[in-house]
Amino acid sequence: MTTAPLGRLARRLPVLAGRSALQLLVPAGLLLLWWRTSADSTSYLYPPAREVIESLREEWLADRFSSDILPSLRRFGEGFVLAAVIGVVAGTLIGLVPRLQRATQPVTELVRSIPPPLLFPFALVVFGIGDGSKVALIALGSVWPVLLNTVDGVRGVDPHVLDVARSFRIGRWREVTRVVLPAASPKIVAGLRIALSVALLLMVVSEMRGGTDGIGFRIRSAERTFDTAASYAGVIVIGAIGLVANLVFVVIEGRLMRWHRGARGRVDEIEGRGALA
């Protein structure tokens, strides 16, 4: 019995290795292409890859790590967490009280239609030129997917499940925290995931618009001094942050949503669609 899974793993190992080799092949090829074509480049718009890597190692990952990358990460984190908390709390309230939804809908529909970068001057006036306005812009722009998905998820909770909660008299607070929110969580998580990329975008935009530090600010000043290699290196830093943030999110989501995949897989099995592929 115990050898069966091991045997299966042994058989699958070459397949897995082949799959990751395939996944590495394209990025490696692109890197090589970039390295070769830029090596002798004299155009300032297309600096040699070697210079970009140098800037990354000697500037970005050295002094600028604490002077720019950390402040950026803090704004990104604060803005996202603020958006997540406000979006889930307000979305739950709006979703639970239909009258509140009718009252807030005109305003939310209008504000969410405005491209968030345009709200920056407003954020500057209200929150000042420091970190406050940047964090506010990030939160203001990324709150919508969380808010709207939470409202949608809360309103979509199966009334049958609410009957169960009410008949066993679990109380309003437990009904919301143990029944309504978990039932809405697949939608909430999808909203948070969209918010994560919006938050990163707005972090860069807000830093490019003003301020004295941050990755966006450094990229912008590098461009102004024609230090293209440094600005490309900054773009790589942003890309890496987005990649890592998404990976962390996927891991947390996998833990929290295990039941959802399990329950879905079960339904698929019952309905003859086969378990998760």
Binding site: D158, H160, V161, D163, V164, R166, S167, F168, R169, I170, G171, R174, R178, V179, P182, A183, S185, W259, H260, G262, A263, G265, R266, V267
Partner: protein, 268 residues
């Protein structure tokens, strides 16, 4: 109402909508359920059984009439009553383990942890699922999930257990097993049970008394069942009295369904 009455339904009427579009789902049900009784309620499908049950459970307000449990008027879900729903997959919470599903109502009662855990373990053992508390509902078969729903209701320690077609979504063999399991639980606890079903065999096999509903829901007939207990899937169903009873109830329900399809009653 006699001295042993636990659940009393008096002139219960439930109408949806108003004016010419009004639809009557429950049309004046009067019914007493005695302490320790196993009452089955049968009726043609769509006759308003579920609406009746929701009114008894305090989940829907009656348009007219009253429901009382232990002389207390039901206006909200009463603490003395637990429900087992038909659709186990929607009544158990998939984000919680079996144990957490069972103790959630007990936490709301502020019972100490040891008491909650003890009741959950006891209830799971009573339905033959001892030691499976850490599993998630979706890791269990259909029959096991419905047993968890029964365990949750038992751990709640109600006086009245209300079951809404609890075995309608499982296969025939599982259904027979669950019927015997529920009878076994009933023999040991002597809980008062009101069991709604559209399966006439099931009603005849389980009940002390069968109420046949008309459509819209009203008491058409009440039949006392004097088949010997403990009941047995083969021996009881082989008794001539079982066949007579089954035939009688079947005719009664069928007459009602026929009357309705002839256009007499509203389609509820």
């Amino acid at each position: 109402m006699t001295a042993g009455t636990v659940l009393a339904i008096d002139g219960l009427r439930k109408t949806y909508g108003t004016g010419p579009d009004a639809v009557t789902a429950v049309d004046g049900v009067t019914l007493d359920v005695q302490a320790g009784e196993l009452l089955c309620i049968v009726g043609p499908s769509g006759c308003g059984k579920t609406t009746l049950l929701r009114c008894i459970a305090g989940l829907a307000a009656p348009t007219e009439g009253t429901v009382t449990i232990d002389d207390q008027l039901v206006t909200a879900p009463p603490p003395a009553l637990a429900l087992v729903f038909q659709d186990y997959s929607r009544s158990l919470l998939p984000w919680m383990s079996v144990h957490a599903n069972i103790v959630l109502p007990l936490k709301a009662q502020r019972l100490p942890r040891a008491e909650r855990d003890g009741r959950a373990a006891e209830a799971l053992a009573a339905v033959g699922l001892g030691g499976l508390g850490a599993r998630y509902p979706w890791q269990l078969s259909a029959g096991m999930q419905q047993r968890v729903a029964i365990a949750r209701a038992l751990a709640y320690r109600p006086e009245v257990l209300l079951l809404d077609e609890p075995f309608a979504s499982v296969d025939a063999q599982t259904r027979a097993d669950l019927q015997d399991l529920l009878l076994d639980v009933w023999e040991r606890t002597h809980l008062t049970m009101a069991f709604v079903t559209h399966d006439i065999d099931e009603a005849a096999y389980m009940a002390d008394r069968i109420v046949v509903l008309g459509a819209p829901a009203r008491v058409k007939e009440t039949v006392e069942v004097d088949l010997p207990r403990p009941r047995d899937q083969i021996a009881t169903k082989a008794l001539p009295a079982f066949a007579d009873l089954r035939g009688h109830i079947f005719a009664s329900v069928k007459a009602e369904a026929g009357r309705r399809s002839a256009g007499d009653g509203p389609l509820v």
